[in-house]
Symmetry: C2
Subunit: 370 residues, 2 copies
């Protein structure tokens, strides 16, 4: 028998400046510790309704079907794709990082015939590359904030392209929501998903999603049942909607946390919050430049909440990150795919998007790089 039970966990306090989880709002952690309610308690149903109203405000949408799924951001991706795609559907996916690749993989497992438009990692996709594919598609899938590269994909043109393809417009806004401008309705996005652990500064565990009336119509016209029972929006939508039909037991305390996180976002104001993220990232860029560090992404394509930095020639990526963690209790992220071992990802998200955090990271890097 091993020496169990182990003692209670007392995790070290880290400053989370990687690709997420981010620096948490203390009031969110407090909210998550409040008394658990039953999932059909009238007091909880009211909290659910408030969460939906606030989520719509943060997504900038009137979409009725707007709610958090009971899983992390990737469950949000899977929810949108398995509900809207049926076997044999043609799906066009824009890829210039891990999360574009993941959308293609998830769509393919949902039975889609996936057509990929691949771009350079560290750059946004050229809309013309999408446009010239031509033909007809069920959905056009794009990543707004590519967490693996720190690139922001401009979305304004995409509705027009989706229309040319006859496609639903599906958007990953895991790392962009509440950190940079996201406009579901005015951009004409049909379905989007996010996560709680980025610019919402909430622990991971929920995936906010939103579907336009058009996407809801597509869902209602499905021929085949959704392959996933757990993520089936025709079922879970009834619990979050008027009917309150029991589906699964909602993660009550996580939803308290999301409620508080959304509250904090709206109290600050979305425009102010986006401006703060932009200003603080600017401060970081300048400081990194002053240390002679180079950024991976051209200025106009940068995702403010997440900055990709080139590891200088001759510097061992892993050693630097380990030293930051060990000596400074500071977490930054490494690279993925072609950026593995040669890129750092620095997050300035939500509660962590402050000048003080940027300074902390700059001084940590200065001290470790010597």
């Amino acid at each position: 028998m091993p020496s169990i039970p182990y003692p209670t966990v007392h995790p070290p306090t880290r400053v989370l400046m990687g690709p997420g989880p981010s620096v948490m709002e203390p009031s969110v952690l407090n909210a998550m510790g409040r008394p658990t309610l039953g999932h059909l308690d009238p007091a909880f149903l009211e909290i659910m309704d408030e969460v939906r109203v606030m989520l719509r405000a943060v997504f900038r949408t009137d979409n009725d079907l707007t709610m958090p799924m009971s899983g992390t951001g990737s469950a949000g991706m899977e929810t949108v794709l398995v509900n809207l795609i049926e076997p044999g559907d043609r799906v066009l996916v824009g890829i210039c990082g891990v999360f574009g690749q993941r959308m293609a993989e998830v769509a393919s497992r949902a039975g889609a015939e996936v057509v990929k438009v691949e771009g350079e990692w560290g750059r946004a996709l050229d809309p013309d590359a999408l446009r010239k594919v031509g033909g007809s598609f069920k959905a056009l899938c794009l990543v707004h904030g590519e967490t693996s590269t720190g690139v922001l994909q401009p979305m304004e043109e995409m509705r027009g392209i989706a229309d040319e393809l006859g496609a639903l417009l599906i958007m990953d806004c895991v790392t962009s929501l509440a950190g940079v401008r996201v406009e579901i309705d005015s951009w004409g996005v049909d379905a989007a998903y996010s996560g709680t652990q980025k610019c919402l500064s909430c622990p991971p565990g929920l995936a906010p999603i939103t579907l336009s009336p058009r996407a809801q119509h597509v869902l209602s016209q499905r021929k085949a049942k959704v392959a996933s029972w757990y993520l089936d929006l025709t079922l879970i939508g009834s619990y979050w909607g008027e009917e309150r039909a029991y589906h699964h037991t909602a993660p009550i305390n996580a939803i308290y946390g999301l409620h508080e996180a959304l509250r904090v976002v709206l109290e600050e104001g979305l425009e102010q919050r986006w401006a703060r993220h932009a200003a603080v990232s600017q401060h970081l860029y300048e400081g990194l430049g002053a240390q002679g560090l180079e950024l991976r992404v051209p200025r106009e394509e940068r995702l403010a909440p997440l900055t990709a930095v080139a590891v200088p020639e001759g510097v061992a990526d892993a050693r630097v990150r380990a030293a930051l963690l060990k000596d400074h209790d500071l977490e930054i992220g490494g690279g993925l795919g072609p950026m593995k071992d040669n890129t750092w990802r620095i997050g300035l998200m939500g509660a962590g998007a402050t000048k003080a955090h940027a300074e902390l990271c700059l001084s940590g890097l200065r001290s470790v790089l010597g």
Copy 2:
């Protein structure tokens, strides 16, 4: 614009004595509020390892593939079924309640040819009914503690029956784990799943699962990819295993909570905990009997953590539950399926399995029933 943001949530303190979520361990809620770590932080990887070791102890198994999935109990069900079943597989499902029905539905969406053996709601299944189906099956699926009826399905004979059918033995132990005897290895169960919000007294949000080496072998021999990327054990097993390959961002704080919940269970001792649940339910049975209330399940088939009570003739189910909630801050559950409107479900689970809770419920019922 509605009057948002809303104020911070301050949920009322309810005594949760329905089918779950249950009365929470205060130390679990505390643990969930501790500082969030990155999902690849060495300190978090250590916590994950401790969770796996403690989960194995609670499941009574040596299974390597034992871990919490990032979703609620139903995500656990879906994980086990979509990973082990391929399109066209024959699956035998024992059904005498909602969760047996759900297993059949999820297996069917995974492409299985489902054969159902249905029994009376409120009774355990007769093993002979399973045995006499005959033929060959990929899996035999059974519910150990049927949350919709409060029935405990004896499992000792089931390995033999599964062997006659050439089947993997799959078990739902959402409401039984840590409340009554569960013996994954000595019962020869190949795959099982549970939830955190029942006898573990932890908020909903995670689904502990365990797979035997035989089930792992079946998984490794799949011809088709698992339809769900999010729940694909060949991928997520690499994150929880040696490789630490990034899959999705684990729900860090929820895992702190599970760590603490498992710690509390093992500190008490499993045998002691089972005995406590048995003794307290006995106390409840006697008190209900003294009030002239009848139980739905014969004594020897009762699931100690959850008691199904017949709503007396002429009494309005919903009115009683609403009054308990409103005047006593006490939640008990209503019935489902054929037990809707005519059955109450009273949970005595985990931290809520005390004589004081049984008394509280008895006195609440006494006062409301008049």
